[in-house]
Symmetry: D2
């Protein structure tokens, strides 16, 4: 209820701050018998890691090994059905002076609202509101992806637009190894050039990420308030950088006619996928296709107007080692959230249906 | 867990099918002492009602008085803190032959996935998956709006685009009494003309609805997974017709630079509202601004390809008394969902903060 | 969260007050395909009904037909997987003057604490705190029992002590048709005589009820905080009249040695059942055996000292049509709560285990 | 949902196994601004610690320093409103051969049901089902007690019966420093003698623990299913050793008349406390008085009949370093669970009432 738990039957509770002891989580509800060791988490964490190769010139200079340690729930290489706890120690908390940031509200950050809500605030690097919190999502999501893989479900995420430059084709398979996790390797050089310019200007960029889940069985999801698309929208929107979520035709659907938007059914299956794989909140068996709008990173080197915690005007230039764009690091985070939501729906589903 | 309850401490559980005894709900967690009678629910229900004046030429021909009866939780004109149950009897369930629809999957509808999920299906008019289910949301939302009004919070919703024709200005106050609940009365004649044409062609339309909440106190909402924008995105996406949700600059943020998107803080408050009133998942005290993409109504008179429940190809022309567009009837539904989410967040908030 | 919902995946939400429009509930999460009509609810409601034959001379004079109407979730005689709503209209709300009870706190009743909690109170016959609220539990529990029956699980409840007079043998099967739902028909005449005396004295009695669930599969339940015995203890203790709950040897276990209390395992199964069918919170496959202590009815004709809502001393003699003992009417209520808890655990279980 | 989280708005999620890396927990929902450091947890952990002075001759020989480390949620000596994670590393996991216990089901333990439920089992020292799990409850409960102390609420627990020998008077204040946390220091020598005898016989003992909460404000708690006594009963029954729970007069109430059991109200307050401080599920402002029946420790040195995991008969004598009685170590665990339940109810309450 205080916001740090995700899921209904497969529940991930996370903890930790940017510059505290570390980031961690507890995944409860994972079935027994799943092969698991720390390397499963590490593979996904490495994709999100600061300074990872995939990050390209958009990456931060902060160095963290992001090494996950399993604390419970695994015995002789398999899950036991008990909670799986993991912990990622913070290593590179530079002993810098936070004096200024302790009192100044950075525009576009949660500083001002955390003070409004809690009265106190861990101002070191954003505290709990830091993007570093997403490491725990990726670790938990890695376990969810292992669960889904057993059921033949795969979640992929790829960048389809960056700084206003969209890809020209979509290759979800190729994105995993492509720079920026781009859905189109042809577009990468243009993004490289743009990022170089924007970095020089001390500014930052946003973009659009597409997530596709394949192998999701027809009938998955709940009706009415917990529609599968509602759950997925919340999952993605819960990532700090996301400002919009759409499914299937999404906002374009608002400009289509019914005769154009409806996906015809044929004996061979659906003839199109404007619905994005979900009808009435329940999976249709087609690919689930989501897109998330990523806002530009708020930490910019350009001078900004802001106030301090007593409301006095301040001119701020955010230095430090910041990303130019949340892409590509947010890409595995969005895949992790989608995997957690789908694995939760799948375990919840087990109890329903005619034969239950 | 089966999808029919919304909220954490203010919880609305709904029930009922399109052609069963009726539609109803139980709102649990409403504080004691709130003045309430059935007229509070009725005022909002009348705005959503089939054939309401506001509906204009987009409306259905089904006639329902949609009269809500309060069954519990109110004593001497005030809430008592116990569950508030209400019931809206179905009146106009025409005794038609559903024989065909019992076996044919209507494209764009949930028929096929309900069969996949449940094995059985109440095929009369869509059963639980009918838009008629939203009447209970509107009734519950009316109580939430009364709660919010006591705290100086107001939720307004307006149509900002219909069939691809966008409004040219936004007047949220005027929308309440404007045809289509339009944010711009000037645009209405163009929508009228478009709807006339589309109806003649047996087709349907979508659009975009904007929801604005004002008076929301800074600090409202939870961090991480239950960010206020994540909760609101789920609330809106849980309405069947919605295919996308964005907040503040939304998808446009993906194309902005950080220096452009960040809202500067000044001693007088924020200088812009690209964030849409939420930072790090927590209300900033600005207006909360959301937009939802509404897909075209799937019931079209144009002939469509589909299959029956044994997978055999069928040609289907959906007759009956259907809306051309979910707008304007979906407008009070989106306001209701936003009000339910905000009232829930407000009651949850009461327990937090430095002095708790 | 406001207390009116029971269960995790099979969720019963109830509403209604003693002298309002009626009592009702919504059961969400019931699997599709279960044969169901109102008679399933009615059979159990008739066992709890005021003035039922089983009630014997302990019963109230209030006459209610307690007729349940199904409002949703059933189509062509089977559940559809959507919420099952039911309503029991109040019929015999005598138009008496509640003027005194509106201001006086009845000892042993919730009057004083409802005022402390809510500030307002529906004083007509106890409002929501009335035992009449349990009708909705019995109706919901009847559906749970139908679900359990499909899995070969049976819940039985019987009176094993009344007014300090214990039964001498336990026949759970015979109790269903025995006066007071007694586990021993031989004891009934002694209870008859005692009740006659106590009624003449204007006083009331308590007792002990035993609940036995057979056919519960080994492995059912969750560990740690949600142990099956913890869930069952809460289920029974949530009934107003219950002041204590024990499982298996219960309080007697506190006086046993380990060598005496441990149930030996043999190739043919357990050699005894001091555990009461649950080990470490998880069902062992033996019978689950619970006992609940029932306090005497607080509404007595004997004059009592109390205060009014301004704290002034008052002498009160509660007239009206009250039971002498919550037994036998509480017996089907305790069976219903046990059935709801077990059916919920069973549906939750579906998602776990090595092969999930 | 998988059993490892306790609470509604103040939520403790625990993890860890007896012989894994350690035991830990995450407490989410704690208000910001509470002074906290590891010593707050340590003080309570030391009371539960194996080999603590309080344990007397009933204690185990396992040596654990049970040192809690805070991992998050605290900044500059105060809570920040974010999740508080803590970890207690296991130190004394002797590298013994578990070969036999891996295949044999110990009577009175959860071995057999964990295999039935999960298919796999961490057999080292009971794994997750070990009493060692309760260390995390005590650590979380220490924070809850700090929260309650700010509101003037105090939770005390004391032993009132051991091995069938009851105390003759009850001094809750004195119990904190008394051997066995006894409510009556006079009884201690008799318990000493009994334990000496029972240990010599290779057997074990049970007892009864009383928990008293004072300062609980009238009006706390929820009605119907989440009655405060129901929540507390579940909290206590969730501790492995507990086989029964009663409140106020408890099982004795079943033998009282209404005129005897009802607590009269006077202008000075209640004249007695048979209700145990809760009416209709809601706190009356009196002391809340609970008692829990503790079963004898199942690990006995006496030879027992059991089976192995293939159902073959085995003769078992459990060696090792085991307690003779769960008392006194279970005493701070029961206090911790009561504190967690009350702090949760208190934070939940904040949102209710006439002025909410």
């Amino acid at each position: 209820m205080a916001g740090n738990t995700f899921g209904r039957v497969l529940r991930l509770t996370t903890f930790g701050e940017s510059h505290g002891a570390g980031i961690g989580g507890v995944l409860d509800g994972c079935p027994a018998g799943l092969p698991l060791d720390a390397s499963v988490l590490q593979t996904e964490l490495d994709r999100r890691k600061p300074g990872a190769d995939g990050a390209g010139p958009a990456g931060t200079a902060r160095k963290e090994s992001d090494t996950a340690r399993l604390l419970s729930g695994v015995f002789e290489g398999r899950t036991t059905g008990t909670p799986i706890a993991f912990f990622i120690a913070n290593e590179d908390q530079r002993s810098r002076d936070y004096g200024e940031l302790a009192r100044v509200y950075r525009p576009g950050h949660a500083d001002v609202v955390y003070d409004a809500k809690y009265g106190v605030r861990d101002y070191r690097g954003g505290g709990r509101a830091s993007g570093r919190e997403t490491a725990a999502r990726v670790a938990g999501g890695a376990i969810a992806q292992a669960l889904l893989a057993r059921e033949g479900i795969r979640v992929q995420a790829a960048t389809v637009e960056l700084g206003g430059i969209a890809v020209e084709q979509i290759d979800m398979d190729g994105a995993r190894t492509c720079r920026y996790f781009s859905a189109d390797s042809e577009t990468v050089p243009r993004w490289d050039a743009l990022i170089k310019d924007v970095r020089a200007a001390g500014d930052t960029l946003g973009g659009i990420v597409q997530v596709v889940a394949s192998g999701v069985p027809a009938g998955l999801g709940e009706p009415v308030f917990d529609k599968l698309d509602a759950v997925l929208a919340a999952a993605l929107m819960s990532v700090g950088a996301v400002k919009g979520v759409e499914i299937g035709a999404g906002f374009a659907a608002a400009r289509m006619r019914g005769s154009e938007h409806n996906d015809p059914l044929t004996p061979e299956g659906f003839a199109s996928n404007n619905a994005g794989g979900i009808l009435g909140g329940i999976a249709s068996g087609q690919e689930i296709v989501l897109r998330a709008a990523i806002k530009p990173i708020p930490s910019i080197a350009v001078e900004q107007k802001t106030v301090d915690c007593e409301g006095r005007p301040v001119r701020l230039r955010v230095g430090g080692r910041h990303d130019i764009c949340a892409i590509p690091r947010v890409v595995p985070v969005l895949a992790a959230m989608t995997a957690l939501a789908l694995a939760d729906a799948l375990l919840l589903q087990r109890r329903m249906g005619a034969g239950a």
